[in-house]
Point group: C2
Chain length 332, copies 2
């Protein structure tokens, strides 16, 4: 069933059918109802592909997320999908799984599919794809992680501040031996968190042994390994700051296996507030980010970009320290 069929049935031209559906106000009231009735009766559904080809607009936004099972990212996807749907947009999703190559194939698929715009939480893909986007003038919003490229809209957290908040909490409790499980340095959020951590300790005149800085890839297994190394050090840290929730899950595993008492023997501060952080015993002190708000803002920003050009901006959200019971004064 196409416009052609409807047109013949009603003795109209396809142009009129099209107008009746897209801009009803410019067709005669009675033809309009004739068309609308026929559409309802026949259950006709517009072919969006044809329309997209003609109008050069797919009303689709692509989102790339680095780990959809991480509640931080599910919240973002939820928010984006929500504003997209209510604005008549549809969302293509790609789960990069913290792997830049997946992100690259997704980006390529996205431009092939002619998405109207993309929101991405980069896993660190090759930046050459950005050029392609620019050529096709497909707007891009970087979310959570910045590419470092100038002139790209971004909505991020003040990660340095977040790390400071968490670290300072530990310092104020009296800790001197504080370690970090950092994310990979090719991601801006990991860099910023590490920097915030370092700066806070520097101003507190606390030195950081080289082996108190461990790197993971933001996934659980790497957090476990990092924690294992930290906990087997001859001079164990009395506190660990873990730079995201997945790595915290891994850290907890190590902590439990070794039967380390939290917070008596070890204080723990996490990043991102997941439901399980609250449910843990003891409940976890974390730096939390307003994930839904960030997703929503990113989607809205993209929508405004789609409606009119403007100069790129980066929107920064503020983290919040949520003190629960995983930190205490150091005993030794």
């Amino acid at each position: 069933m196409t416009f052609h069929d409807l047109a013949r049935e009603l003795n109209l031209s396809t142009a009129t059918i099209s107008r009746a559906l897209s801009r009803p106000e410019i067709v005669a009231p009675q033809t309009r109802t004739r068309v609308l009735d026929a559409v309802r009766r026949s259950g006709y559904q517009m072919n969006g592909i044809a329309r997209s080809l003609r109008t050069q607009s797919t009303q689709t936004i692509g989102i790339i997320v680095s780990d959809i099972c991480n509640p931080f990212f599910s919240a973002i996807v939820k928010a984006v999908e929500d504003v997209a749907r209510t604005n008549g947009y549809t969302v293509l999703i790609c789960n990069a799984d913290e792997d830049g190559r997946n992100e690259e194939v997704a980006m390529r698929l996205f431009v092939e599919r002619q998405v109207s715009g993309v929101i991405r939480c980069s896993a660190g893909a090759n930046p050459s794809l950005l050029e392609t986007l620019r050529q096709k003038s497909i707007p891009l919003i970087d979310l959570d992680r910045q590419s470092g490229r100038p002139n790209i809209d971004a909505v991020i957290l003040n990660n340095a501040l977040g790390a400071s908040l968490g670290t300072r909490h530990l310092v104020e409790l009296g800790h001197k031996r504080i370690a970090i499980v950092s994310g990979p340095l090719h991601l801006s959020n990991a860099r910023d968190r590490l920097e915030g951590f370092r700066k806070t300790l520097r101003t507190a005149r606390i030195s950081i042994p080289r082996n108190y800085i461990e790197f993971g890839d933001f996934r659980e297994a790497s957090g476990y390994q990092a924690a294992e190394r930290l906990l087997s050090l001859p001079c164990r840290p009395t506190a660990i700051f873990v730079a995201n929730n997945e790595m915290m899950a891994g850290t907890l595993l190590a902590v439990r296996q070794r039967k380390v008492k939290v917070p008596r023997e070890l204080s723990l501060v996490g990043f991102d507030d997941a439901r399980w952080a609250r449910y843990l015993e003891p409940p976890l002190t974390v730096v939390s980010q307003p994930a839904e708000l960030m997703g929503q803002k990113a989607a809205e920003l993209l929508l405004t970009r789609l409606h009119g050009r403007a100069t790129p901006q980066t929107i920064v959200f503020e983290p919040e320290l949520i003190v629960r019971r995983s930190c205490a004064e150091p005993k030794n």
Copy 2:
């Protein structure tokens, strides 16, 4: 940049360009490399919309999920996206938020976008849309929840068995006053779980007071309210079976507020194994489902439907009881 441009640049016809890219083996080796080189140099990206219009195929699969922040569904989305991406498909996502109306607008958008197929975890949309899908011969896989319509592929859990497993565990511990927080009856999985619960108690000759059966909508708030009612009963249950993880989160809130001791005063069995269930104190005994496997299977099933017609089947996965420490013998 289009085939037209490339064709002029290389003194070829658009037909040849098309062939060189889609079926390289049927063009002369040297023209082929000439074309491929030009494509690489220019960074040309195929317009998938135009191709889709011509070939009547979008290589897109739509997925509808009832609550993307629920780890059970994130795992499903992850699995589906994974098999989709590796097969050259792209996935459109809709988060119905347990609301049938959202599901309906998504379905409509999906058919407009001419998706190749859809996988849905229904929130209970109007079944009339199924007719539209059939007309356009867009295959549908029901996942986790069955529409009740015959002749529709489905991949589900043996929910009755799951509920039996959980309930029997409680019975064997000696509980006589067992309540349930059930999902909404318009969803097949909720019905089946309730049925499994009932049947198990019937064969154990344990009667269920009418007010021991509470209904929620599979979301946290409703779980809280249901638990509140249960816990304020004059004759409190000694055990509660909660039919999904979100409602369990709500139940736990009520339990904590009232300072009810688990498992001493109240035994708890949940459905779906989330990370927080393990981390809880005491760790939660749950019926678990192989979410990733189910998502993967659904995607694979859809792919085979896309490649050749066959008679619809329903694939049933087996639940597993994971005994942790939230259940004990009743004290009173």
